[in-house]
Amino acid sequence: MSCCAPGAEMALDLVNAGSVLPSSQEIRLASRSLGDDLRQTDLSVPTVHCAACIQAIETALGKLDQVESARVNLSTKRVAVRWRGNQVPPLVAALGRLGYEAHLFDPEVDNKDKTLSELIRAVAVAGFAAGNIMLLSVSVWSGAEGATRDLFHWVSALIAIPALAFAGGIFFRSAWNALRHGRMNMDVPIAVGVSLAYAMSLYETITHGDHAYFDASVSLLFFLLIGRTLDHVMRERARTAVKGLSQLAARGAMVLRGDGARDYLPVGEIEPGMLLLIAAGERIPVDGKIIQGASDLDCSLVSGESTPRNVAAGEAVQAGVLNLTGPLTIEATAAAKDSFLAEMVRLMESAEGGRAHYRRIADRVSALYAPVVHLTAFATFLGWMAATGDWHRAITIAIAVLIITCPCALGLAVPIVQVVAARRLFENGIMVKDGSAMERLATIDKAVFDKTGTLTLGQPRLVNADSIDPAMLAIAGDMAAHSRHPFSKAIAGFARLGGQHKFDAVTEHPGFGIEATATGSTWRLGRRGWAGWKARTGGEGKHGYGGTVLTKDGFIVATFDFEDALRADARAAIDQLHNAGMCVEMLSGDTAGACGEVAKMLGVDNFIPCLLPSGKVERIETAAKDGHRVLMVGDGLNDTPALSAAHVSIAPATAADIGRNAADFVFLRESLLAVPLALDVSRKAGSLIRQNIVIAIVYNAIAVPIAILGHVTPLIAAIAMSASSLLVVGNAMRLQGFATGASSAIARQDRPARAGAMAQSS
């Protein structure tokens, strides 16, 4: 794995300040071999959204030397590049020149979706069979008799066999699994109903009977499979969208060997004692101790601390923190599996609480429904046996009861609403992992927020820009453009457009600030103690937000005050949650002062500062014991255990990878209104689901007596079942019509972001 010129790659990384680009070693690590020297790399390009993008990307990548072919997939927002040779082509840089940000994603997780193609194939087969059998059945209903009817029944029976075997297999397997574990699910009555209907119809066909239910059993499968496929597509889409976001965990690091050689090793192979080179802008892959160098570290994802931490040789660093300003050499003190990140994963797994025991509405309903239906059919059989003694007639009617109660409407009642609801949320930039998340969200009565990165953006904002001399601010802005320190980025936004200052030299002193020389004078932007005249010792204490100054030849000419910028609409979102009857609480790893300020501004009921990750989990578990159902909204690594301990959880797209994976909902836009919107849609979906279940039960209350009295013919069964399904689907569609304040506000607010991130929803 020894690479040609590692130094050059690190230089490239440094040039592209601002974002963390995957290095070519990472690309090589993530590519897969197609044999014969050919390798394929899949890159996620979230901003591709039209034909022009496709053409620009494919042409630009195709022109690169070793690239064999490049193909953009617009639905998944990915580009697959096939290339040859040892040297990795500058794919990310080429995309960067076109203005597209590209990320690598884990090729291991990205198995092709086998379930979906199996479902679609099953729908196709069931649809083909249902169409043809229905065609033949219509002829029978309209009066085909004798040999013609028998012929039609036989042909139907033949067509139904592959449909039952292939499409029905999905239900039979699921039903069998449930029964084997002593549980009951909706697939049990479906499987029983369908197979009994087929068996009876076959018997009728053989004995030249006039009622066969081949059409009912197959079209039932067809309808249910459509519901199931939509449900799967919804979850799959959310999953790929979440996966397409940038990978935050470091996937490898440059290891410095004893003999001076440099190797790029994947995280899993890093052992304690190894020396690692961490360039500015990289994440620290494992826990370690700084051997050489000084820098500022962004710990917001790890500890929730909003102010960057100033570090020097000898200090310990945790895996997952972002190295902001200077290159560091660290000695690994733990392997990846013992690092902070892995510790969080363990805490998360042990915290898996309430939701593991949650039973979905559909399962609860079917646990009641299936026994009732089967007992009714059995009682019908006994009743007719007692009344007439004609066992053939008794069985026929009992099976007709099973067919008419076969939970087509009930099977669609829940998933169809959830699919429509998930689509509404998707259009507003909110991903739902699965349907049960919406059911759980509808029941919560307490919302818990993390501070840094969730209620706030985790990015400092300059608050006293108005009181600073504009000329000084412009100079500071131009200097700040040379650094990726969060404070610098906040100041750089104020640089005067066009009129760049001419500096003779600009150097960044990691941990201190930026120094620039111009026409004989020395400008410094950074810590008060360092930037002040001849105070080069750097022995000053820790400065908070108030400690940043601009100096000219040692005299302070401007001071800068920062605060953590609030997330857009945070206040409105909290108000809406209050109106919805929520109790809102804030848990943070940050200091009490910083928390108090934010809590006051947002009107949060209660806050607890300085919490460790396990403290957050405890807090949530206590609330759960007190009978609350808790929603956790958080983004950091330190929130991850709390995210999985809560009844339901939401994470912003900027969250750490494992946080996003632990959360039930992920919102892609900046606005925090996503939280009340998700709550609102989930509650409406909940009430529609209950309505749908009532509709399905009313339908049964009418249809079952008719069936028990023996008046059901295949024609009546077909009409009744389709009518109830259509009613349920139509009712679910009403969810699209509910316009809420939250959703329209979000839609109004960030159209451009929508075009980029959400084009997938079309």
Binding site: I54, G62, S69, A70, L74, R121, F128
Partner: protein
């Protein structure tokens, strides 16, 4: 009645043809990128280089 002897097989054959066509399309990746397919018709591919970059 005699017409049924060949009409039914013909109907079934046509249906099966459609089904197998769909399954073929599914397997050969025609449904992998529906959004992309909708946009790609807007791309002018008059130069040969454009076609060369296609992988499938």
């Amino acid at each position: 009645m005699t017409t049924l002897v060949y009409l039914i097989p013909v109907a079934l054959f046509l249906g099966a043809l459609g089904l197998s066509g769909f399954l073929w399309a599914l397997r050969s990746g025609q449904y992998e990128d529906l959004d992309g397919a909708a946009e790609r018709i807007l791309i002018d591919s008059d130069d040969g280089a454009e076609n060369a970059t296609r992988s499938k």
